[in-house]
């Protein structure tokens, strides 16, 4: 049975040693206690005597290499004897007797971690906790260098410094490459500085006099939905105005006909029609962002935001809207509006939209920055239709005008494609054919 040669633990605090020289070569014969190799540690340089008589079968650690105390350095045995590849229990035969005792002592941590949820992070001191809260830092991302691996004040300050360092590259601004986005959402540009400038001790709203309104389920849903949308999609809003003269003329005539069918013809179906036209011209506007890619929708399912008398709003979806006529759209709009306000929409009637129309102009709003109804990529807001002086062929004319605010997901569309869509909507509205009397 071959005997192994190990790196001795040469001193109380020594954990490793370096092989400086082998005094025998593989195959040479050695006597027990004869010097076999020289090692160097933090505390001592010494010769290591052979643990047994025999032939130096194999050197495992070459000269110059540093290994932990206890590491097998070589094997001694009879010539041709097989070297075990698993050192098994034999290692412990060579351990000094005090080893288990000293182990049990050093295994005991000097300062015990307090039990609890900070178990993984170790002891968190008050100043580290405070800095983490103030600077909004995830302590799990910091490597602790303190006692027992705890995160020290220095660790967190260094972390903060590094983060700042990344943001504040010391390069002239004109040498900083731009990403070509003129429409960078302010949240993206300023999110960090806004967060930093917000005092940690900002007054809570509860501190001011007032009452707290309980959250209705619909309010909660809207809130979650809006926040999710704003956080996931970089919103950009582009605004164009449209002359509604042609639509108005058509509507004046068509309303009477529709009235016979008990259809209330509002401007909404016209806007829906125009959107359909726009989406057909720019299919990218009828899509959704996914991590796999931009999903172009085959169907045009138009949502229409309906304000509820109890507050909030709901968005019923006209499926395959492009297959409907103006009257068909009007009928569906009437139906949805009535049933939405009565709370009688079916769950599937508010799902599956690919684009949304919202009319924010009922009380006079001119233009707005609507929030995208996820997972769609765009929403069109219509302001109040009002007569305004406009220049037509160098003459001032009074026309019924409307602002169209189109918010799009900048991950999906760029300014050019978005404006192409909106321009098509405007074009459709302005060039609405005259009604057949």
């Amino acid at each position: 049975m071959p005997v192994k040669v190990i790196m001795p633990k040469l001193g109380e605090s020594v954990v490793e040693g370096t092989v400086t020289a082998w005094l025998k070569k593989e195959g040479q014969v050695i006597e027990e206690y004869e010097a076999l190799l020289e090692v160097n540690t933090d505390k001592v340089d010494t010769e290591v005597p052979s643990p047994a008589s025999g032939t130096l079968l194999k050197i495992l650690v070459p000269e110059g290499e540093t290994v932990e105390a206890g590491t097998i350095l070589a094997w001694i045995g009879s010539p041709g004897e097989a070297i075990p590849d698993d050192d098994g229990d034999s290692q412990h035969d060579h351990e000094p007797h005090e080893r288990p005792d000293s182990e049990s002592i050093t295994d005991e941590p000097l300062i015990k971690r307090p039990a609890g949820r900070d178990e993984d992070l170790g002891y968190i001191s008050p100043v580290v906790a405070r800095l983490a809260r103030e600077k909004n830092i995830d302590l799990a991302k910091i490597k602790g260098t303190g006692m027992d691996g705890r995160i020290t004040k220095k660790d967190i300050l260094n972390h903060i410094k590094e983060q700042k360092g990344q943001a504040e590259v010391d390069v002239p601004i004109w040498e900083t490459p731009a990403d070509g986005d003129l429409f960078r959402p302010t949240e993206m540009v300023f999110a960090k500085s806004l967060a930093e400038s917000t005092p940690a001790t900002a007054a809570k709203p509860e501190a001011l006099p007032g009452e707290t309104l309980a959250l209705t389920p619909i309010r909660k849903r809207i809130a979650a939905h809006m926040v999710e949308s704003k956080q996931s999609a970089p919103h950009v809003t582009t605004v164009m105005e449209a002359d509604m003269g042609a639509v108005s003329s058509h509507r004046q005539v068509a309303q009477a006909k529709a009235g016979q069918q008990e259809i209330h013809l509002t401007f909404t179906p016209y806007f829906l029609s125009a959107i359909i036209s726009g989406l057909k011209a720019v299919p990218l506007a009828n899509s959704s962002w996914t991590n796999e890619g931009i999903r172009l929708h085959k169907q045009i399912n138009l949502g229409m935001a309906v304000a509820l008398p109890s507050g909030g709003l709901i968005v019923p979806v006209i499926k395959n809207a492009d297959e409907r006529s103006l009257t068909g759209l009007a009928r569906q709009v009437n139906d949805f509006a009535l049933r939405a306000r009565a709370g009688k929409l079916q769950p599937d009637e508010v799902q599956g939209g690919t684009f949304t129309l919202t009319n924010h102009g009922t009380k006079g709003s001119l233009f707005a920055t609507p929030v995208i109804n996820q997972p769609q990529s765009g929403i069109l807001g219509t302001g109040i239709i009002q007569k305004r002086p406009v220049v037509i062929n160098d003459a001032i004319a009074i026309r019924p005008m409307v602002y169209l605010s189109y918010t799009f997901d900048h991950r999906v569309l760029d300014g050019a494609s978005a404006d192409a869509f909106l321009a098509q909507v405007v074009h459709t509205l302005e060039n609405w054919p005259a009604a057949i009397e």
Binding site: I111, S125, P126, V127, V128, A129, R130, G146, T152, K153
Partner: protein, 328 residues
């Protein structure tokens, strides 16, 4: 600027104050012809006469009680207690009378006096020539407690103490009397205000709060550990009462670690007040437990050299405490 010893700074302060203000006089045991057992009053008797440099009876109560009376009359007594260990016979006068006089008379009667006393061990003085007594007095509103650590402060603070309209206990680190030397302006009538502590060494890694002889050792320890990469800030508390909480907290806010050093016994020692100040107002700045390094809780410093060495806090012990706290 001349380099002088700490005891010479004390002597100069008294000399200059005696010369400046006729109301000032010195009273104590052996302060006259002998010039004080520590030679702190050398030459004053010859210069100002036996009416202003008075050898008192061997009675500490008399020194302080008579001093209070003279202060009530309008004099500015400097009372010397030969060793701080002997101050207890005068304790009643200091606590019941000097400290409370102004308050209890609603501001009618004040006691402008200084009680000087050499304190501290490490000089082979045994139980009764080695004591640190400051904690008995830093609990008492109406008193001011000052402990200088170097000649400049000793002279400037003592002059301020003489001019202060309140009773000031002025404890001098006797081991440092001749060991600690430093520069002091030659002719200038300068004072050091009573109240503010002083950051005597700026550092980032921890704050060490000390005073008197321990401040001297703390500076030495800071230099030692600096070579190991530990950057220590030293705060010389100088005025123990009233407490300069602002400077204490300012330093902790910066370093987030605090080590308080005194040679007085640990329990109920002055370090407890510093620690409480930090815990109460500086908790959210802390990155480690507050640590105290102090004399052990045995009645006093033993005489025999090895036992004295065991008792006394020194630069090596401070350096070890710094290393320990730095590793946290």
């Amino acid at each position: 600027m001349a380099e002088i010893t700490l005891v010479e700074a004390v002597r100069q302060a008294m000399d200059e104050e005696l010369g400046r203000d006729k109301k000032v006089f010195v009273i104590g045991e052996d302060v006259g012809v002998r010039g004080g057992v520590f030679r702190a009053t050398v030459g004053l008797f010859e210069k100002y006469g036996d009416e202003r440099v008075i050898d008192s009876p061997l009675a500490e109560l008399t020194i302080v009680g008579v001093g209070i009376g003279a202060a009530l009359y309008g004099k500015r007594p400097i009372c010397e207690i030969q060793f701080a260990d002997f101050i207890y016979p005068a304790f009643n006068q200091i606590i019941s009378e000097a400290a409370k006089m102004f308050y209890r008379s609603n501001g009618d009667w004040s006691v402008p006096m200084v009680i000087r006393a050499p304190y501290g061990g490490g000089i082979g003085g045994g139980l009764y020539h080695s004591q640190s007594v400051e904690a008995f007095f830093t609990h008492v509103p109406g008193l001011k407690v000052v402990i200088p650590s170097n000649p400049y402060d000793a002279k400037g603070l003592l002059k301020s103490a003489v001019r202060d309209p309140n009773p000031v206990l002025f404890f001098e680190p006797k081991k440092g009397y001749r060991l600690i030397k430093g520069e002091v302006p030659d002719d200038e009538d300068y004072t050091v205000p009573i109240g503010p502590a002083k950051i005597t060494r700026a550092g980032q890694d921890m704050s060490v709060f000390a005073y008197g002889m321990m401040h001297h050792y703390a500076l030495q320890a800071a230099e030692t550990v600096a070579k190991e990469g530990i950057d220590v800030e030293i705060v010389d508390l100088r005025t123990l009462y009233p407490v300069d909480r602002e400077t204490i907290l300012k330093s902790v806010r910066k370093t987030s670690k605090a080590l308080i050093v005194h040679e007085d016994n640990l329990t109920g020692g002055y370090g407890a007040e510093v620690a409480a100040t930090i815990a109460e107002w500086g908790f959210m700045d802390l990155d480690a437990p507050i640590r105290r390094l102090a004399g052990p809780d045995v009645p006093a410093v033993p005489f025999s050299h090895p036992m004295q060495g065991w008792f006394m806090v020194d630069a090596d012990k401070i350096a070890n405490a710094i290393r320990d706290l730095a590793s946290f």
